[in-house]
Amino acid sequence: MIRILLINLLRFIALVFLQVFLLKNLSLYDLSTPYPYILFILLLPFQTPNIILFILAFGLGITIDAFYDTPGLHAASCVLLAFVRIFFISITVQKDGFDNEPDPTLGAMGFRWFFMYVLILTLIHHFFLFNLEVFRLSEIQYTLLRFVLSSAFTVFLMLISGLLFFRRKER
């Protein structure tokens, strides 16, 4: 239990640090800006209670907002992400079958599941984030272009980090 808390705390700090001081300054051709900090919410253990999940998602979003000067924007996107995560997990994962509850990581769940999980959740988060940020229908083509390219970049970074911390676990 302590170990899980410690790992997640470290992950929170590391991801916020990475996002705010490194990736904030990064953009490809002014179009693709990655937001891999959402990996923190994606990697929370399956048995996290819903209320804790939402509080953590909101807290993470507000922390990022404080550094990005966009109060509420990332918080709203992260809360939506948490909701979609609960929904996605409830239809794709049977919780009863496990001996020891695994984490939603690449090693425990296999590449196919992890890829779909990351892809769908990132797409929803980024779509909401970019449209809420711009909030203008007249710029929709640029918003959609940025949404697609940024999602690709984010998914790419998250898969790399999944492979980097790859540890095979038996289900």
Binding site: N25, S27, F67, Y68, D69, P71, G72, A82, E133
Partner: protein, 278 residues
């Protein structure tokens, strides 16, 4: 009642989602519409201190370019000094000049946080209300317009960069003095902007300077914004729009000047008074 509780606990994810989403959106709408002082921004104590520390490290990496730009600006200012002109009359007289009254004063500040790749970009600087900075002051740097102060704490201030979707600066063509409005273009290119609402009979030149106009209470007239890079001719439009190549490289901002316009209050007072009369 019991059934209601069972219903809520069964779909608790949805209700929690609605509650937190509403909280987030309320925070967001409040901040955007009234520019209220909230603590969730990069000029509060914790994030401000963090950015300050990282900014100190980053400052060392760009000392070379900053020195160059400061030297260039010094040279330009030195050219304006009285001592750099050759006096070609022998008669000398000292005159106490009472024609001029200082209207603009400048406060120098260091950029500790900056971004260029979002739709709405903000800059944090290491001077605040204790140094005389207040909301709605204009900000420039050595090579052009930077933004407007939106929020201050004691030692830090938050600037809305020109690279923002709500940017609207009163601008003019430097040669012909034709007035327009400057916007940031929606393709998120930090090197280009738009000059819109220019009268249709104007014939702008390629590469002509676009500078701040004398209508704004934020900036002195003649602060450069950029150069005309291409003309967009919309068929049958009343107004002329053109692309601007920005004068400032916003990704490399290091030092900025906050402008204190001592007559800004008077100007806004007299202008709101006129609106009441209408």
């Amino acid at each position: 009642m019991r059934n209601l509780l069972i219903f809520i606990s069964k779909y608790n994810a949805f209700f929690l989602f609605v509650i937190f989403e509403i909280i987030s959106l309320v925070i967001m709408v409040n901040y955007n519409s009234f520019q209220k002082a909230t603590y969730i921004e990069s000029s509060n104590e914790i994030t401000g201190a963090a950015y300050d520390k990282v900014g100190q490290v980053r400052g060392y990496l760009s000392l070379g370019t900053v020195n160059d730009s400061l030297a260039r600006e010094n040279a330009r200012l030195r050219n304006l000094l009285k001592s750099s002109f050759y006096l070609d009359t022998l008669q000398k007289k000292n005159i106490v000049d009472s024609i001029y009254k200082q209207q603009y004063s400048y406060i120098v500040a260091k950029v500790i946080n900056n971004s260029v790749n979002h739709r709405n970009n903000y800059i944090t600087i290491n001077r605040g209300s204790k140094d005389g900075i207040a909301k709605d002051m204009g900000v420039i740097c050595g090579s052009g317009v930077v933004g407007i102060v939106v929020n201050t704490t004691d030692h830090l201030a938050n600037i809305r960069s020109v690279l923002h979707k709500d940017t609207r600066i009163s601008a003019m063509l430097a040669d012909t003095k034709d007035i327009g409005n400057f916007l940031w273009s929606d393709n998120l290119d930090p090197h280009s902007g738009l000059l819109v609402d220019v009268a249709n009979n104007v014939k702008p030149r390629m590469g002509e300077w676009v500078v701040t106009s004398n209508l704004s209470s934020l900036y002195p007239a003649g602060i450069p914004i950029g150069r005309v890079s291409s003309l967009q001719s919309k068929e049958g439009g009343i107004f002329l729009n053109m692309d601007i190549k920005m004068a400032v490289d916003y990704s490399k901002l290091e030092y900025v000047y906050v402008i204190n316009n001592r007559m800004a209050l008077e100007q806004t007072q007299v202008e709101t008074g006129r609106k009441k009369d209408d």
